[in-house]
Structures are given as structure tokens and as C-alpha cells.
Symmetry: C2
Subunit: 388 residues, 2 copies
């Protein structure tokens, strides 16, 4: 048995997406070409653009396709800043590296950065944000939902505070993790730019998109031909983009019911862990949280040991972002919500997907308590605790 509970890292391709991509594999023209082969690709591209923009609640001409969520974030942030002289930018301490590391780079290159604290659940306080706004603030970037602990940010309230202060400050949100798992509507949320990615919603890897509200001016960072309004030059990945369109279509159909089902399974896992394993802590917001995400700190054990032992039992989970795995650093998200280093290092993220079922959760609950118990028996940390 193989149980995949690492859907925040990436998701399996939906069968419908595989089929869409196989069906479009023969449509190969360059979407910029004037002949029929080009037109066929262009049609496929624009059909997908309709689908993805409808999923975001924007107009198709407000959406560009990119190569991944990281690219969307970089085009949004670096691209907007290339067109303004204002030098103050704001983000939170628990952003994904695709945003946070861009801000660190900018910080080292002439920008003044405010990194907002979050509360013990990982939420940004809109009033704190409001107090950080300045005359020279160019851009605010706050994620829609956190990838490690699932906490959903008050994006609409943040947007309102920004608008009250100034109409000129641009508000970007990385919705890579929120898309498909919480209500997304760029208009209702009041954002100017939004990044999303196909492979987090059972679509293909190598495709992302960026919503840019009409009127927001950004400049290209990578420069070349005129594709995607010159903002993401390079021959469009028509097959992958068609797969993205299909993935959005199926993600949007019955999204509420699917999320309710995922939420029930996640709660079953959570309650089972609470019931069967002592000395744990659930991280993230108890209610305003993605329905699929469960982040747990297990006292006196290393998260990496847990995921290796679970892996041997056929269960895939992670310690946090796959984008920082292998670095041996404690999660910046968990440290920011107040965990000490040991607890942060002893944390595991279970992230469910639309294909998980009751039986799989039962299997995890059958294996996990024994693993934690064995690891604690071997742990020098646990022994040291006993010695005291």
C-alpha cells in the first residue's frame, strides 16, 4: 500500500488531465505562427486561458501563463518594481521562499523591506499591516494560504486597509497553495496580482499563471519575444497549458464537496493522532485553515526521521516545504509562529488530496503511533528529558 499525503508539495496528474494532454499532443504548432498549425495551438491556448481566468474570477486578458508559481511570483514582484521608483515593500515572515527570497534579494539591493510578524496561528493582522504602510510603499505581497501550516490569510481585509491608505500601492498574493482549496476570486479579494500553479491542483508541472489586474503596469524580467504580452517570452507550452485548463475545470466542479470530504479525512487524521500520541502540538489556525493541511509537532523526535520511517511503511509526507528540504534548517514558518527549534525540527506536514480515502487515513493511524513511540525510545532528547 502506498499512501500519498504530500499534496502541498505536488499532486498526481488527474486522469482527465492526462487524457487532455494526450489528446493535445498532436497539436504542436507554435502559437505565434500565422498558419493553421499555429492557429490550432493558439485556439488551445486561449481556451485554456478562458478556463483558468474563470477559475480566478478575472478576464482572460488579465492572465498570463508562466513556467511555474515561482516564476509568477518573480514576474509580479520584480516586474512591478522595475517600473516604479518607490523603494519600500511589505511582506510577511511566513511567505513561501519564492516570495520571501525575492524580498531578501531586494533588501540587499536597495529596497527597504517590512517583514510582518504573524500571530501564533500564522495569521497576519490587517491592523499591523495598515500601520506599516508608507508614502513610499510600492508593493505588498501576502500569501493567500500558507503551504506548511495551511493558515488562510485575511486577504480581503488586508486589501481594504491598503485601499484605505492609498490607491497606488499594488497588492500581490501568492495563491499557489490556496487555489482549489479555498474560495478564490481576485475581484472579491481585492488583489492586483495573483500567482497560481497547475501542479498543485492535479495539473502538470512546468505551468503557472499570473493574474495582473487591468491597469497595473509591470515590466518583463526575462526579455525576448512578444509571447504573453512580452512578460513571459518563450514559446508557449501549449500541451501543458491545455492540461492546466482541464485541471482548473475539474478542480472548480464540486469544489465545496471535495473540500468537505478532504476536511473530514483531515479531521479524522487529526483526532486520531491527538487520541493515540501524547506530547504533540497541532500547528496552524484551528479554523481558518486549508481543509487538506495538518501540521503536527511531535516532541523529542526529528521530523526527518518520522518521514523516513513512514516512507518505509509506504506513506509519503514531508517536514514542510519541498522547496527547502535538504537544507537542515528549521522551518521559518514554524519559528515565526513561536515554536522553539526542537519543536520546529520535530514537525510533520500531512497534506491530503482529492484522491485520498478513509482506508488510507486508517492505515496511517495504524502505523504512526508505533513509529513515534520507537523514535522516542531511541531519542537522546527524550532520554535527556527523563534524566532531569
Amino acid at each position: 500500500m502506498r499512501v500519498y499525503l504530500d499534496n502541498n508539495a505536488t499532486t498526481p496528474l488527474a486522469e482527465e488531465v492526462k487524457k487532455e494532454m494526450a489528446d493535445s499532443a498532436g497539436i504542436f504548432g507554435n502559437a505565434s505562427s500565422m498558419h493553421k498549425d499555429g492557429m490550432l495551438s493558439r485556439n488551445l491556448l486561449e481556451k485554456a486561458r478562458q478556463k483558468v481566468s474563470s477559475g480566478l474570477g478575472c478576464s482572460p486578458d488579465e492572465l498570463i501563463f508562466t513556467g511555474c508559481g515561482t516564476e509568477s511570483d518573480n514576474i509580479a514582484i520584480q516586474g512591478f518594481l522595475r517600473g516604479t521608483d518607490k523603494k519600500h515593500i511589505i511582506t510577511s515572515k511566513i511567505e513561501h521562499p519564492a516570495v520571501l527570497n525575492v524580498f531578501k534579494y531586494l533588501h540587499n539591493n536597495g529596497y527597504e523591506v517590512t517583514y510582518l510578524d504573524v500571530d501564533e496561528y500564522g495569521a497576519v493582522d490587517p491592523e499591523l499591516l495598515a500601520g506599516a504602510l508608507r508614502k513610499d510603499t510600492a508593493l505588498v505581497s501576502i500569501m493567500t494560504a500558507n503551504n506548511e501550516i495551511g493558515t488562510i490569510q485575511p486577504v480581503k481585509e488586508i486589501s481594504e486597509r491598503i485601499r484605505e491608505y492609498s490607491k497606488d500601492i499594488v497588492f500581490h498574493t501568492d495563491a499557489v497553495q490556496g487555489f482549489g482549496k479555498t474560495d478564490i476570486d481576485v475581484k472579491k479579494m481585492g488583489v492586483d496580482m495573483m500567482s497560481v500553479s497547475a501542479h498543485k491542483i492535479n495539473g502538470p508541472k512546468g505551468v503557472g499563471a499570473l493574474f495582473i489586474r487591468k491597469g497595473v503596469k509591470i515590466k518583463p524580467v526575462f526579455i525576448g519575444g512578444h509571447h504573453e504580452r512580452g512578460l513571459r517570452p518563450g514559446t508557449e507550452n501549449v500541451q501543458g497549458i491545455a492540461g492546466f485548463g482541464k485541471a482548473v475545470e475539474i478542480a472548480m466542479a464540486g469544489m465545496k464537496e471535495k473540500n468537505e470530504k478532504t476536511g473530514r479525512l483531515r479531521d479524522k487524521l487529526k483526532e486520531g493522532i491527538i487520541r493515540s500520541i501524547p506530547n504533540i502540538k497541532i500547528n496552524g489556525h484551528p479554523e481558518t485553515v486549508l481543509p487538506n493541511t495538518l501540521n503536527v509537532s511531535f516532541r523529542d523526535v526529528e521530523g526527518e526521521s518520522i518521514i523516513m520511517m513512514l516512507d518505509m511503511e509506504g506513506i509519503s509526507v514531508s517536514t514542510g516545504s519541498a522547496c527547502t528540504s535538504g537544507t537542515l534548517e528549521a522551518s521559518h514558518v514554524l519559528l515565526s509562529i513561536g515554536l522553539d527549534h526542537a519543536s520546529a525540527q520535530g514537525s510533520v506536514r500531512f497534506s491530503l488530496g482529492v484522491y485520498n480515502n478513509e482506508q488510507e487515513i486508517g492505515y496511517v493511524l495504524e502505523k504512526l503511533p508505533g513509529i513515534i513511540s520507537r523514535l522516542r525510545d531511541m531519542s537522546p532528547l527524550a532520554k535527556k528529558s527523563e534524566c532531569k
Copy 2:
């Protein structure tokens, strides 16, 4: 009948590549994840890296995967310049927009650029390049082969001139169009960085690669996680990359014979056009040229009219780079080799691929003369010529 002669814009997916991608569609883990699903993806990724690097003659740890050729060019050029204070850079006047427009951007942002002239065949003179080198020259970027006229540049000789002058100047080549159609070996060619793309060699769109010689230091332009040594952050497109690996494998097998076959078909087309249509000019080098490319100027007609008429007969060709199509500007490549505006506007690029055959070339030669003759009959340019 549909005849596709626009293979320099993009190529159809090879059946073997489709199969490879379908076979790997079930391997979906994030290549950065520590569990088995991650490991399976990582294995696929590294297998593909072996294949592509073997096609370039480099070591696998000298190759990063990107989202397209344009991205490779941008990472190479912008990324290298982010790590040096030297402000002089050199390129040719006939580069692809993915290089030329980056140089134009840099030109407007504090860099001094030398744009080298080319001869009437589109070749860069290594002596001219040698004369342009300076103490503050940071980087030279000269393409391996031109996408519009097929002329192959004396890359090795250019590299030798650069090395004679200084060991510190970095030499990048955009080999997107040359890869698979001419001998490529980064060591023999003496280049420091080389860009290639999958979709020009019957691989998938949305995947490129960049060779970076060991010891050459470049900084990321898009910033995020640690993927591809941090130089191209974002979850790796494992399925597409596996397809790229397969495409390189089949392109390299019997490459010489395939190119000889393509060259024979191209020559048949060229001779047929010369024989049956008056007032034409063949553009590009007569010998040092890609075996698949034929660029022809037809006097007194618009290139766009020709491609639309051919399209109606089921033949796909283009006026030049798909990356500049729709802009109505005359090709910068054709103007640089000395064509006047009218001749440049009346030019068509026929670019063959491995799947073309004799019958298809015969069909084009059957349709083309009548189309040119009809267009010339309608042309005000031709009539004006008669009036004189």
C-alpha cells in the same frame, strides 16, 4: 495533404517522446521530496540530465533545466552580469530576440554594447570580434546557428580569439536552433554557456536547458527555492524533462544520416525554386548553413501573402522568427545581411524536419510557382516596375 515546413519555429512531438511522457505521467512526486515518490521523480530527472548533457558533451553537473530557450538565454546573460562589475558586452546584429532584446534592455540600463556586423551571408567575422574585445568586456554572446537563414557561426574561432585576449571573458552561445542539426560539443566549441530547447528537436514545449561550464559563476535572476542549484527555482517539470531526455537521445542517434537526408530534400526544394521561379534570391550562407533551412526572397511580393496562400494549400511556412511574427517589422536578420526593406518583406523561410519526405517537397514545388505568379500579377509593386 498538410506539409509542415516550419520546423525552426517548432517541431512535432516524436512518437517516442509522446510514449516517454505518457509512461512518466504516473511518476508525479516533487523531485525535492525525501520520500519514495520524490526519489522516483529525482531519478527520472537525473536520467534525463545524463542524456541531455551527453548530447552537449558536458558533465551532468554542468547542466540545469529551464522552462525554455529564452529562459536559458536570460539566466545566462542577466545571471552572469549580476555577479560582475564589468560593463561592456558584445553580441551580433542577427541574434534571436531572446538574446538581442536582453542586450537592448542592458544597453538602456548602464551597459555598453557592441553589436557586431555580419557579412552578406550572416556570418560573424572572428577578427572583427577580436577587435571589439576590451579590458572591461564581461561577456560575448554569439548564436551557434541563425534561426531565420540557417547560417552557422564560426563559434570555435570566436572562442579562440576571446581566449587569446583574456581568460576572464565569458562566452555564451544560443544553440537553440543549432542543436541536433549541426555538431555540438561545448568543449570542442570552447563555450562557457550554451542554451538549448526541447521543442526544436521533437521534444515538448516548456523545457529548455543551460550548460554552465564548471567555474563560471552566475547568480539567479528569478529567486526562490534551491531547485537546479537555485538558478531556476520552481518545481521541476519532470514529465517534460523526461521527454526532453528522450528527444535528445533519438536526435543524437544517426544524426549525420538524418541531416544528410534533410539536406537533400532542402536542396531539392532550393533547386526546384531556382528553376521554376524568376527574380528570387537565396539568403544565408551557401555552405556553412543548417541542412534544414532555406530562406528565399521573392521580388515584388509580400512574404505574409505567400505564407497565407501556401497555408490555404496545406503548407506551413513562415516569414522568419515566430517570436516576432505579427509585428509587421522587416526581419532584422535580413536587413543586417544587406537586403532592402522590400526584399526583406518578401522573404519566406522553409525549415524542414526529420519527418518531411520527397513527396511533400514535390507538392510544395507544384504549388509555389503558381502562387508567386498570381501574387506578382496582383502586386502594385510589380505593376509599378512595369510602368517604368
